[in-house]
Amino acid sequence: MGLSDMVARAAARHAHVLVVETPGWWRTRAMVEREVLARGWSLAFAPADADVLVVCGKPGPQLAEAVELVWHQMPGPRVRVGVTEDDDVAPCLDGAHSRLLDTDHHMDDARQRPAASELLAEHSGMDHGGMDHGGMDHGGMDHGGMDHGGMDHGGMDHGGMDHGGMDHGGMDHGGMDHGGMDHGGGHGGMDHWGGHEGMDHGDGHEGMDHGGGHEGMDHGRHGDMDMSPSGIPLAQGGDDRDGLEMDVLDVRLGPVLPHWPAGLVLRCSLQGDVVTEARAELLDGEQPREAAAAPLARRLDNIASLLALAGWDDAAAEARSLRDVVLAPGDDPTVGRVARLRRRVRRSWTLRWSLRGVRPLSEDDVRQLGLPAHAGGDAYDRLIGMLDRAAAGDETASTGDAAGHTHDVDRTLSADLLAHLVTGLDLATARLVVASLDLDGLRAGHAEHEMSHG
């Protein structure tokens, strides 16, 4: 066993897993998280941090597209698995583990990855799916597997050409001639220093002619090129809340985001980190299930999310492990532990200090927005409320089970409501608000809606 084998084994023993939850598959997501932690693996924050992408359930086309983009952002060695039955979790992760060890496969993977310029060309014009990062990504950079074969950059001249937003789609490389080209200047966003992964210049470029005619290439985007380096539009200015002009960034939160409601996408306009405008939508989820959701476990899951977002890892881990105990078949020895968690949370003055005053809702607000009664107060009240209900063993789902409103109402309500509630807050606060709302019912309502119509 060589050194690289040892490294690979040690690495695979500590894999980081990014879990994607398709709406309606939260139980599977919980099982995956539990299995991941039981192996001593970690849950990833972001694509750059992940080795394994686990997709729970069967995503619809929109979510699938988002997952694809996240996949492009992951550095190698990377493995993607889908889990569609709760029983599959352990075998799927076993499979992921053994594939992580397959170094040859990862070399191939690195070689075949599309370059960022190709992805940008493909995606410019359409929206960027699930990217929750400002820029596009070159994924894992490694010159290791590059094959420049017989290519000769010697005399090429790309002059001032900018590859930014070009569409290489219909280009015919057939009879081109690379003869006098010079790669010297102006590759726009391409980073030659680290960015060739996946490109194969192996053979057949000899006949290209970039020199004279660009016949067949689409130069359509050259006009606004200055405004969109590498095809990414520059931020536009806008007045901020103090009346100063400040750049506005369009950032999408979700759908692939830990501690975030499944399938939810929040399109935010950010100034600094303040959400000045937001639009929410719920992505499609195929085959929603879990009619018989476990409200207590979901509530504990929400509590874990909120505590994790508040930056208290230990308490979040405790809430998560309680959730797993509740989900496991058998007796329910958790009542005492839930009460202890509740006491521990209530004792923390730093937590109270950081959650107090976060998006307070009066009784009128709650009624007008159609929220359940327990959504009143600020984020701290809502957290304690969730803990109280969990400790009391309150088995009613947060909202959705309450009779009286149709699922259509639920659906629009959850989306518009969220956008309304987070506008004017900074990112961290906005996420605390979303997590504090105990939103399962709304999402479950959405899922049932899909099922009854689809």
Binding site: G40, G135, H138, M141, D273
Partner: protein, 326 residues
């Protein structure tokens, strides 16, 4: 004080500090590295215990090694239109800053640099962290990491001034900015004992400039890892190592400043320095898991309304005591 002193520092009155040959800096780095590994192992063990799992059979102690292997194997990445130079400078700079900090910390009676303004040197290095974390957030041209960078600056505005004033207290008491002389001035009574506010605020500052525990919103879960959101592979490894190194360097600097330097019974002075450093470091690592994050917008208020007045009052008390003594 049993060791011979081949080269007493010129001009030193009661300091017994010896400047060692520059080559010994390697040893300083090795000690810093050992502290980093120990801190990471402790953190691995604590986090494995918190999430109720075995951590791969070793109780989590082996986690830092596995993580290092993972990141060594992972590919580096870059983003479109990244400011690569500044990005890498930011991520790698943390480790270098920590090394520059430990060069002025005496290990018993040996030090790599015996600067007359060692305390200021340390302070200058910790200010450097502002730029480095911000650059790490700025470099990749990504919204989340940029937000992380801004958050760190917001925290910085809250913690930096209290930290500076906390460093002033021991310097006033020792009537010197030389780290060795500050340590020597604590003969009999540690500064931590009679200037507890300065000591606590100093520790808070160390946690803050290491982007650690309650001061880690710049790397928050809520912004996909914040400043480090786009780091992968060896870049991430260097960044994380840098954070641990800053924490270790901060813990080590607390020893000559507040904990009597190498003073202690039985053991040689260098061993006492290491023991005290390890103890402070262990407390800081443990603390991370106990306290929720301080939200930057809220912490600023505490920094200015509570910490600065408290630590200024501390400085006043120290100054009055010193005037009374002379």
């Amino acid at each position: 004080m049993a060791e011979p002193m081949p080269m007493p520092r010129s001009g030193a009155t009661d300091s017994t500090i010896v400047t060692v040959a520059p080559g010994w800096a390697v040893v300083a780095v090795a000690i810093l590295g050992a502290l980093v590994v120990a801190a990471a192992a402790l953190d691995g063990a604590l986090s494995a215990r918190a999430s109720g799992e075995g951590g791969g059979g070793s109780g989590g102690v082996a986690r830092p090694f596995g993580e290092a292997a993972r990141l060594m194997r992972q590919r580096r990445r870059t983003t479109v239109e990244a400011d690569s130079l500044l990005w890498r400078a930011g991520g790698g700079g943390l480790l270098i800053t920590a090394v520059l900090m430990v060069t002025v910390i005496p290990l018993g009676e040996w030090t790599v640099f015996d600067l007359d303004v060692g305390v200021m040197w340390f302070n200058a290095m910790d200010v450097l962290v502002w730029a480095l974390v911000w650059l790490t957030g700025w470099g990749p041209n990504s919204a989340h990491s940029l937000v992380g960078g801004y958050r760190f600056l917001a925290h910085g505005l809250g913690y930096e001034l209290p930290l500076m004033f906390a460093l002033v207290a021991p310097a006033i008491a020792a009537e010197s900015l030389n780290v060795g002389e500050v340590a020597a001035a604590q003969e009999g009574l540690w500064f931590a004992v009679w200037m507890p506010v300065a000591f606590l605020v100093y520790l808070l500052g160390v946690v803050a400039f290491s982007v650690w525990g309650p001061f880690s919103p710049a790397l928050g879960t809520d912004i996909a890892g914040g400043a480090r959101a786009e780091l992968a592979g060896v870049d991430r490894l260097v960044f994380e190592t840098g954070r641990y190194a800053l924490l270790a360097a901060g813990a080590a600097f607390a020893v000559p400043m507040f904990l009597g330097g190498g003073a202690g019974p039985l053991l040689p002075t260098w061993a006492w320095v290491l023991v005290k450093t390890a103890a402070v470091l262990a407390v800081l690592v443990w603390l991370r898991r106990r306290v929720p994050a301080f939200r930057p917008d809220k912490f600023m208020e505490v920094g200015w309304m509570v910490l600065i007045p408290a630590v200024l009052l501390q400085d006043l008390v120290v100054a009055v005591v010193m005037v009374g003594r002379s």
